[in-house]
């Protein structure tokens, strides 16, 4: 047995995040799309946790939220370095890098 409406909502948010990644050229908005996808997947896990009254999903949520914070901070540091070289944060500019 599965909770129906929360799973439908999380699948809608997941597909919107995938289209957000595919459309934008700016790297920061690709990062925002990844955050939308991680939030959608965690919404499905938390809804299953509240449905079965189980505590293990919350522990899993703590791991994922630290990983997303680490992910965004390291990506922003890399974007600062990319902006020093190319003066623009664009996906098409990375293909011109040597090595």
């Amino acid at each position: 047995m599965l909770p129906f409406y929360t799973l439908i909502l999380s699948s809608i948010l997941f597909s919107i995040g995938i289209s957000c990644i595919l459309i934008h050229k700016n790297l920061l908005f690709i990062l925002i799309g990844i955050e939308i996808i991680s939030n959608a997947s965690m919404l499905s896990i938390i809804s299953a946790t509240s449905y079965w009254n189980n505590i293990d999903g919350i522990i899993f949520y703590i791991i994922v939220i630290t990983i997303s914070a680490v992910d965004s901070s390291i990506c922003l540091a890399l974007f600062v370095l990319l902006n020093k070289i190319k003066h623009k944060i664009d996906v098409n500019k990375i293909s011109e890098m040597k090595g």
Partner: protein
């Protein structure tokens, strides 16, 4: 509880569509803030108070502030650049195919039509489990944060050997 769940789910879908279709930067960040707040209110309506407060603290106090500072100080371009119209329609078709596959796999499974079952889990139980059975999780998350700090300091200090 069902009314709150419906209102905030519609608000999260509208704000995540606004991230895609908008072309100004700061407005897009504000849409992302509304998305995070509506997701945390969804957690509150499901009865998960600890998870909702953690989402509100981590995302809206760290990640959005860092993104706004990055836009103000580093990235000087005015508007958001997007792909051409043909590639955009192709990406919409890909995401619609993904959603139809997910909807089919949920609809054919054995689901429960009652949307919200509010089972409240108290903070004392989470603390007891975190520091007895799952103590390795706390250590792992602290090691991850320290590793991220070391990586950022190594990348952003001016080192003359690493001339990029």
């Amino acid at each position: 509880m069902e009314l709150e769940f419906i209102i905030f789910s519609v608000l999260s879908i509208i704000s995540s569509l606004g991230i895609i279709f908008n072309s100004k930067k700061i407005v897009t960040i504000i849409y992302f803030l509304i998305f995070i707040i509506s997701i945390s209110c969804l957690y509150f309506s499901l009865g998960m108070y600890f998870v909702g407060s953690l989402e509100m603290i981590v995302y809206s106090h760290t990640i959005i502030v860092i993104l706004i500072l990055f836009f103000m100080l580093v990235d000087k371009s005015i508007d958001v650049s997007k792909l051409k119209l043909n590639y955009r329609i192709f990406s919409y078709i890909i995401s619609l195919l993904m959603f139809s596959f997910l909807f089919y796999s949920i609809y054919t499974s054995n689901y429960d039509i009652n949307p919200i079952t509010q089972n409240i889990i108290h903070d004392k139980d989470i603390g007891n489990v975190l520091f007895k059975e799952y103590f390795i999780v706390v250590e792992l998350s602290s090691i991850l944060l320290i590793a991220a700090l070391v990586i950022i300091l190594h990348l952003l200090t001016n080192n003359k050997k690493n001339n990029l």
